[in-house]
Structure formats: structure tokens, C-alpha cells
Symmetry: C2
Subunit: 228 residues, 2 copies
């Protein structure tokens, strides 16, 4: 077989998923990026995904829409719940948790992978410098991989879907160093939970704090555009 293998990469437009896209490309996959518009607070993230997919040479970039804002229950999908600012959460899972989000995203990636004939799905979950979300843990990923092979026609026929999580045990600084080596332009990415329409970060939310600390620890200049 001389054709490169296809892989589906979940691409939010943030720092982690951009790095994952670069890793999948470096591993020789034809990269099919999937972004999900789910009623999140801002469009800056999806605009960033478009730029990142282009910058990193994704072969396809699919955008799917789900109106999770009708369900609510998270500061990211319900504007009546404020995004927390000002440092470490008081413990536990924060209000930016979106119920079942990664299960949903992986389901969409799985369906598209099956249609494309891809067997490899990449997701930028991280269980080190993260917000404590349950659906970023290795045990969740393993359970989804098992499910994928039971849930699908391709799985039943022996496809052997694999969920790749190259960042899962890395610190934010390590991710930033990997991405930098692989040519990711982090200035194009948006991690902030409440970026403005121009994609400028608030600098105060959990996600901004983790990202800024990561650049500092990696000793790499932070290219993030912050709100004035």
C-alpha cells in the first residue's frame, strides 16, 4: 500500500489540538480535521481551527454542528453561568465542564472515520496540566476505544479503531515544545474560554492561566494576543 493512511483529528482551534494535528502529519497520516460547533460562547475558536487546519496542511477540514446550548449545564454553553477567573479552582470539576463533550466529539469522529475508511482518531486530551475533566483521562479513552470496535460495522469487521492521545501524559510546556519543533504557529490558536471576536484571550480564565504558565515553563515567548 503506497497511499498514506487517513486519520481523523479532533481540532478545536486550541494549542493542544493544533499540536496533535502536527504530530499526526509528522507520523505520515493524511490528516482529516474535524471541528465541532456546539454552541460554545465564541466563534473565535472555530475561526482558529480554520487557520490551523490550513497552516498545518490538513487534507480535509469538516465542521459539524450540534446545538448543545439547548442543553446547557456548562459555563461554555450557557451564558448565564460565568467563566471562573482568578487562579486555581477550589477543587473538583469546574463549571467549564461540558457534560459528555468528549464522548460526543469522539462519536462524531468515529462516524466520520468509518465513512472515510480511517481507523485512527487523534484527540488532544491531557491528564497533567488540565482542568480536571473526567473525559480527559486514560481510562475514559480506553473505554471509548473498546466501544468503537463494538459500535460500528467496521469495528465488527475487525477494523481495530485506535484512539491516539499523544499528549495525554505531557505537561503543557512539553506540548508547547513539541508543537514548536513541528512548526505549529501558536499565534493562530485560541485557548481562552471567553476570547473576543478577534480571537484575543482574556488572560484570566483557567485555560489562559494554564497556557501562559506553559509558555513560561517552556521558556518560549508567548505569542498569544490578549485583550487590552
Amino acid at each position: 500500500m503506497t497511499q498514506p493512511k487517513k486519520a481523523v483529528i479532533l481540532l478545536s482551534g486550541g494549542l493542544d489540538s493544533a499540536t496533535v494535528l502536527a504530530i499526526a502529519r509528522a507520523e505520515g497520516y493524511d490528516t482529516c480535521a474535524l471541528s465541532v460547533s456546539y454552541g460554545q460562547r465564541h466563534v473565535a475558536e472555530l475561526n482558529a481551527a480554520v487557520r490551523v487546519a490550513r497552516q498545518l496542511g490538513a487534507k480535509l477540514h469538516q465542521q459539524l454542528h450540534v446545538n448543545l446550548d439547548a442543553v446547557g449545564g456548562s459555563a461554555l454553553t450557557d451564558r448565564s453561568i460565568a467563566v471562573p477567573e482568578g487562579g486555581e479552582a477550589s477543587g473538583g470539576i469546574p463549571v467549564t465542564y461540558v457534560p459528555a463533550r468528549n464522548t460526543l466529539f469522539l462519536s462524531l469522529a468515529l462516524g466520520w472515520a468509518e465513512v472515510l475508511g480511517a481507523r485512527d482518531i487523534f484527540i488532544g486530551v491531557n491528564a497533567v496540566d488540565y482542568s480536571g475533566y473526567p473525559d480527559c483521562r486514560p481510562e475514559f479513552i480506553r473505554a471509548f476505544e473498546a466501544l468503537a470496535n463494538l459500535a460500528t460495522k467496521a469495528g465488527v469487521e475487525g477494523a481495530g479503531f485506535k484512539i491516539h492521545t499523544p499528549l495525554i501524559h505531557q505537561t503543557k510546556a512539553e506540548i508547547i515544545r513539541s508543537g514548536t519543533e513541528l512548526g505549529v504557529d501558536f499565534a493562530q490558536t485560541v485557548s481562552c474560554y471567553q476570547a473576543d471576536d478577534q480571537g484575543r484571550a482574556c488572560g484570566r480564565c483557567d485555560s489562559c492561566r494554564i497556557r501562559r504558565d506553559g509558555f513560561r515553563a517552556a521558556a518560549i515567548p508567548d505569542p498569544t494576543r490578549y485583550q487590552p
Copy 2:
């Protein structure tokens, strides 16, 4: 606790999910029906879901939208693939299979259940008189239940999500008898893969054939409205 427990019921508008809604109500749950518009060929099914939710006294009826037609890969979401007619498929999983559909539906149900504080999810899958879809089998359901308890904040906190599949080992005739006893008006339901805009069934697809044979075996008059 005197409040009835809430349950989320996946409601397609077909015969099976209507029966499941009636079963959940008979078990004493406050029923929260969830219908998913996913780019299927016809709107008759979703219109049927609205009627069924009303007829069976659902407390809530949420409709979510996902543009799976952008992904395609199934006769139900891609109009360039014809729905097979004329009896048993030649073996294997038919082209009406929608990649990862029940994984997606259960993900949406799980997220909504978590927001509602519900721990019980009902789905009308059936592994007897069915089309051979992999995501209707007991092993798939068990794997999803395990995933649900790893994937969510409520699961991690010990919620113990349960996926109820009351129809999984029933024949179509048994389902029709159960539904009839519980007061389901099957004339309101639409099972056909290619119903017209008035909800009238083609009478030729796999789903129509299984449904018609079920009424015959149950010795209950078939109230389905067929296309002329």
C-alpha cells in the same frame, strides 16, 4: 424522596421508541424525551416524535440537531444511496446503517441526563427482529454504560448511569403487544425509512417489512398508513 425520578428516553418517532416511552412512564419515571434530527431523509419521523411525546405525556421533549448529512455514508443520510426494497438483505449490515449513530444518540442523551440530574436512559434497541446493526447489541450497550460512568462528572461522583433496553430481547410482535397494553397509539408512529411528508409508509423497505410482519404475528390490526 417523593419526587418521581427523571429518565431520558431516546424517541425517534418509531414503534419501538414509542413503546419504550410508555414503559418508562409505566415504571413511574418523569419522562424526558430526546429526539435527534441528524439529516435523515424525511421529517415525518420527527413529526411523529412530537405527536408520540404528547400522546404519552412526556414531561419534556428536547430536539437536538446534528448535521450528519455532511458526513453521509448511509442510505438514511445520503440521498444518492437508495434505500433497499424487496425483502431480506443479502446478509451483512445493510446500507441503512448510519455510522456510530447510537453512540452519538447515547452521548447526547448522557449529556442531557447529566444536566437534568437523571441517571436513567432508555433506548429502544432490539437484537431480535432488527436490521443487524452492531450498535443494537447487548455488548454495545454494556460498553456504553461503562463509558458513561467514566466520561462524566456525575459518573465519577458515583451516579451510576444505567442504560435501559427493555425491548432488546423481544420480538417485534411482543413489542407491539406491550405497547398496545400500555396505550401506545401506533397510528401516530412512523417506522418507514422513506415515509412521505404526510408520514405515510412505503411498505417496501426493511423497516416496513419487519413492522408489518410484527402486527401480523401479534394478531393486532396494522394501523400504519401506507402510500397509495
